[in-house]
Every structure is written in C-alpha cells, then in structure tokens.
Symmetry: C2
Subunit: 358 residues, 2 copies
C-alpha cells in the first residue's frame, strides 16, 4: 500500500515540459472508430456521425481530493478517468474519448508521472476510450489532474435528470457506502503508519472497501444492460456525493418528492461489519458517504418486471408528488426528511448542502 | 492597471463549493443551436449533426502562466478562453462550446471569481460560444484554470499540421512579438511599482503591446475569411510558442524544410520601438516571443493571387524539401538554421526545445 516511489528518480527538467507530454503519451494508440485525429495537432478531431455529443469535466487536486500517502499514482490516474466516465454513463451514453491535463511540481520524478499515465492508459483500455489530448505543465505546489470526457448517445437514448414522474420507481446499481468506509480505513492506517512506520497493516478483510475507494469502476455496463432489458430510465444521475444528495437532485430537477426505504438500500456485508467496528450507522454512510460511482435512476412501474431480480439493480423507493416532500422511511417505519450531506461535509458540522456541481 | 480588489470581500466558504459554481454560472444562457443541454446535468449534450467534432484543452496556472500582480482577473478569464479557441480556429473550425474548471484558494473572495467569470462570459458572447460545464474546487495554493473547447468543422474543411507540400507559401496572420514585449513592459512596471507603490506609470504608448499580452484575441475571423477567399490552407497551426517553433512544427509534421524571410515577418511599429528601448532584436522577439495567438498556414502557389494584398495575411516564406533544411534568410541575405526557442526558454539558457504540446 505505502509504496516506495523513490527507487528511480528522473528529474522532470531532464525531459522539459514539451518533451514530457510526448514521452507520457507516446504509447497511446487511438482505437475508437470515431477518433479521426488524437494527440498531435492543435485539436483532436472526432466524427460522431449523427449521434449527440456528451461532454463532462472534473478536476482532482492533491490535498483536496486525494492524499498520495495512501493513493498510489497509478490508481489515481485510473480514478481520475472513472470519475468522468461515470458522468457519461449517467447520461445513458457511451464514453469515447478523454483529454487529460496534469500540473505537477518538481518534487515528482518522471517515473511518478509514468505511473499516473499507466493508470490512465489501463482505464482507457478497459473502458475502450481514446486519450486524444491534454497538457502537462509545472505547478508551484502539488499535483492536479483535469480530465474532460467525451461520449455519444443516440438522441432518443439520452437520459436527463429532469424526466422522472410521480409514482415511478427509484433504482440504484451495485451497493453503497463502501468507498467512504475504505477511506476511513486508509485514514486510520495512515495514522498508525505515522506513529510506527514499521507496522505491517493487515488489510485483507478490508480489500473490497479499499478497492472501492482507490480503484472505483464506473458503470459502463449499465447503459447496455438497460438497453438489453428494454428499459429506458426516465431520469438518471451518478452517485458521486452520496445517495441522499443525488436523490434530492433528481427530485428537484423533476419537481417531485420521494419515499426512500432504509431497508432497501443495498449494503455490502463488509460495509455493515466495518461500520460496527467504527461505531457508525451504515445507513448514514450509504446516504452521505459518496464516491460510490453507482448510477441512480427512475423507471416506470411497468418496467419493474424487466429489472426484477437483476443482481445489479435494486429498487430503493418511489417518486412522489412534490408537495409530499422527500423522506426516508426507516426500518422502524418512521418517516424522516431526507437531507443532503456530501461526504466532505460529513466530518464538518450539520450544515445542509443541497447543491451539486455538474 | 494595478486594481484594488480588496474593496469587497465575500468569503468563498459563505457560498460553499457547490453553491459557488451555480452562483458564477447562473447568468450563462446557452445561445448556440448545437447546445442541447448546457450546465445542470451530469454531462452537457451537443448535437453537431454530421459535422466533425474538435476538442482541445489548456491549463493556466498562477505563478507559471500568469502573474496576478498585473493580470486583472477579468482579463485572465478572457485570455483562458482565447488560448483554447485559438486551437480550434487553427483546425479551420468554428468554436462552439467550452467547459471551465477553476481551482482557487481561500485567499480569493467571491468577487474575484465573479471578475474571472465576467471575462469568460464576455469572451463567450464576443466569440459566440456556450459555457456548458465545469467544476469549481478549492486549491491548497493559488489559482488554476482548465478550459476545454469544443468546435465543429465539415470534414472537408479540417486542416491538419501535416498537409503542406514543398514550394507552397507560408503565411501568417496579423503581426508578431507584441504580446511578449507587452509582458516585458508589465514586468518592468511591476518592479517600478514594488520600489515605489505611489508611482503613476504612463503606459499610453505601450497600449497595443499590453493589450496583446493581457487581452489577446483569437483569430475567429480567419477561417471564414479564407472560405470567402476560396482558399483552403494545406496545413495550419496557431502561434502560441513563437513563430520559429511553430514553423518547425509544420515542417516536421509535413516532413519538409522551409525558407523563412526575415524582412517579411510582420511587426507592428510599437514592437520595433520598444525593442529598441529594451535593446532587443525585434526578429528574435517575433521568432521566439510567443503568445501572439495568430495563425500560421501554408497555401499552394496558385492561391497566392487570392490572398495578395489582404492586410490580415502576410507571406513570410516558402516550404522546401526536407533535405534542404529549415532556414531563416536574414536581411543581409545570409541563411541561418531556424531553431525553436519557446518564450519560456528565452530568459533561460540557449537550450533547444523543439517540442510543442497539443
């Protein structure tokens, strides 16, 4: 986990700023048919035929979004891609290309950036996307990654946040809360490591949680699965900030209320166990944890039979009229108002935050 | 010039990270017909019909690419957009949308970011593009802007860097070297201001140079002008790093040599004057200055009559066979090898740098 990156050190200045981007991307071969020209001109050129074009961007900053004490650079590169692809899948689209800009201070050797780009390359191979552009520049402090993802979808397939109707079913993919608890484990181990650098942490039983934090997978499989099942969601969003804030977004965008059932929220047993260990409420973690990169969507009641029993999909509630409000129905069958608390806010005070970046 | 930004200070935390992006972009109304969905969903959606899609991205970092001591934030926002649009025009395309991500430390009040976004907004209005997405996040130090621009072009109109042929004419738009000399003026005034904060600089005679540095304009007019003249360039690139490095790029991408004529390089009289004042050689400045955001392209000899006499376009040389090499023909009619020195390298040593980011 706490890898020694000091083994080889080629100073960034040995390659120069312009030589660096060439060095890092020279093995990137375009493989998608819509990529006409990738890296190597003023702009990349794509031919999406008659399809609609999707674009989304995210910025990851050292000390704000990641801590290199426990985030290996290869994982970071991989995750930076996932965070963006997830937004394309949340439109029911296919991700096709990315651009990657990196700002880096001189404390990083070339080998560190090679690791970062190895993660980006791995993600692009597994998710069948091309890296078509980018920028590498020096930074006065720390590491920063800005990724922009492009994708496509047939016009009739695009799913927005605002199409849900009252009484429709609220569905979530996968399970929730694991990424946040993975972060708690890593933070704890960092403190242990600081106190005793020779300690050998036994993290085997936390493997799933740590992987969800360090190497999340975007739900590339969901748009084709839904197509195969003959289901078009009426609204969709990706879960980056925690279930409750995303549910609230769907409600606000569609001008609806919701009833969300606590006992339906999908939790991995590892989350339940580690929440007990940390004396945290697993429902709270699922609602506010964030970084799960699952998809949340609504379907008509008629489509229920089509998704019933699918292990990837869980119905967790139903939409209601706006004036009925947004509620969580607890296991004890009490109805409490749903509030949004992003994962950044969890360790802070109780301040309500109902906005979300795009 | 040295504006007092301390007049109003709303702390960033008063709006919160998610509230901030909403606040900054709430007045941004989509106006381009290809924008189907701008800000407000997981990804923006565009419909480019059968046109090809162009994408390019650039990162600007405080202390590396700009100095807020003399760069007003509104100008910075404007320039961050221009830098990207220039790359789209260099493909002979039309810029259509941008995404803007900003990382900012707490030392900036909300009003500072409003200034930055006012510049972005002004650029988007004047250049007829939509801001369709972005991200605002905290930074551990300084200000950083990452812009990605999208554009379109008919397949048959796209111009790459590799299409030039021997004997074709090398053409440049506008004039060169002014942005670099504007920077020299600003750097000098910064030193004067440090020594005596009450000094009132008289910068009137440097207006053109300073504007070229602080508020560059991308050559949106050139692709339609060329279309109107019935000229399709055989290769094209934008001049961000200085004429010589861009000429070398066209040569290398097209596997050609070049003869560039010193006496043809277009210089504004203000550049000539200020170069004398600074005891700098104006040809060197034009060749290596950078940040001009003009376009450099090649045309067939047959097209010369079509562009002849156009005040926007200057023939500065002609392409040659690769084995003839890349040369500058001086006013004294001597032939010297063309070497690339980016503007960053100018104040450093003589190290050769022939690479360029995309």
């Amino acid at each position: 986990m706490f890898k020694d990156n000091e083994a080889m050190r080629t100073n960034l200045s040995e390659l120069g700023e312009f030589g660096l981007i060439d060095h890092l991307t020279k093995s990137f071969e375009p493989k998608i048919s819509s990529t006409v020209k990738a890296i190597g001109d003023d702009a990349a050129v794509m031919d999406f035929q008659s399809k609609q074009t999707l674009v989304t961007t995210d910025l990851l900053i050292e000390g704000v979004h990641f801590d290199l004490a426990y985030m290996p650079l290869k994982h970071l590169g991989y995750k930076a891609v996932m965070v963006n692809l997830s937004d394309v899948y949340a439109m029911n689209g296919t991700a096709t290309q990315i651009t990657v800009s990196v700002a880096v201070s001189n404390r990083f050797p070339v080998e560190a950036l090679e690791e970062l780009y190895a993660g980006i390359d791995l993600a692009s191979k597994l998710y069948n996307i091309d890296v078509v552009g980018g920028d590498t520049t020096s930074s006065t402090s720390g590491l920063l990654i800005s990724v922009t993802a492009l994708g496509v979808a047939e016009k009739e397939d695009v799913v927005y946040r605002d199409g849900a109707k009252s009484n429709e079913l609220l569905v979530v993919t996968g399970d929730l809360g694991a990424a946040y608890m993975g972060l708690q484990i890593l933070e704890r181990e960092k403190q242990v490591f600081k106190a005793n650098p020779n300690s050998q942490p036994d993290l085997d039983k936390y493997t799933y949680l740590i992987e969800r934090q360090l190497k999340p997978e975007a739900r590339k499989d969901i748009p084709p699965l839904l197509k195969k099942l003959g289901v078009k969601p009426t609204s969709m969003i990706d879960i980056s900030d925690g279930l409750s804030s995303e549910v609230i977004h769907l409600c606000k965008n569609s001008q609806l209320g919701v009833n969300l059932y606590e006992d339906k929220i999908p939790l991995d047993p590892a989350v339940i166990n580690v929440c007990e260990e940390f004396e945290l409420d697993s429902t709270t973690i699922a609602l506010s944890g964030g970084e799960d990169y699952e998809l949340l969507f609504t379907i008509t009641q008629d489509d229920f039979e089509k998704i019933k029993g699918n292990p990837n999909l869980t119905v967790i509630g139903h939409m209601a009229e706006e004036n009925e409000g947004m509620h969580l129905i607890t296991r004890a069958n009490t109805k409490i108002p749903l509030i949004a608390r992003g994962w950044n806010a969890m360790n802070a005070d109780d301040e309500e935050s109902e906005e979300k970046k795009d």
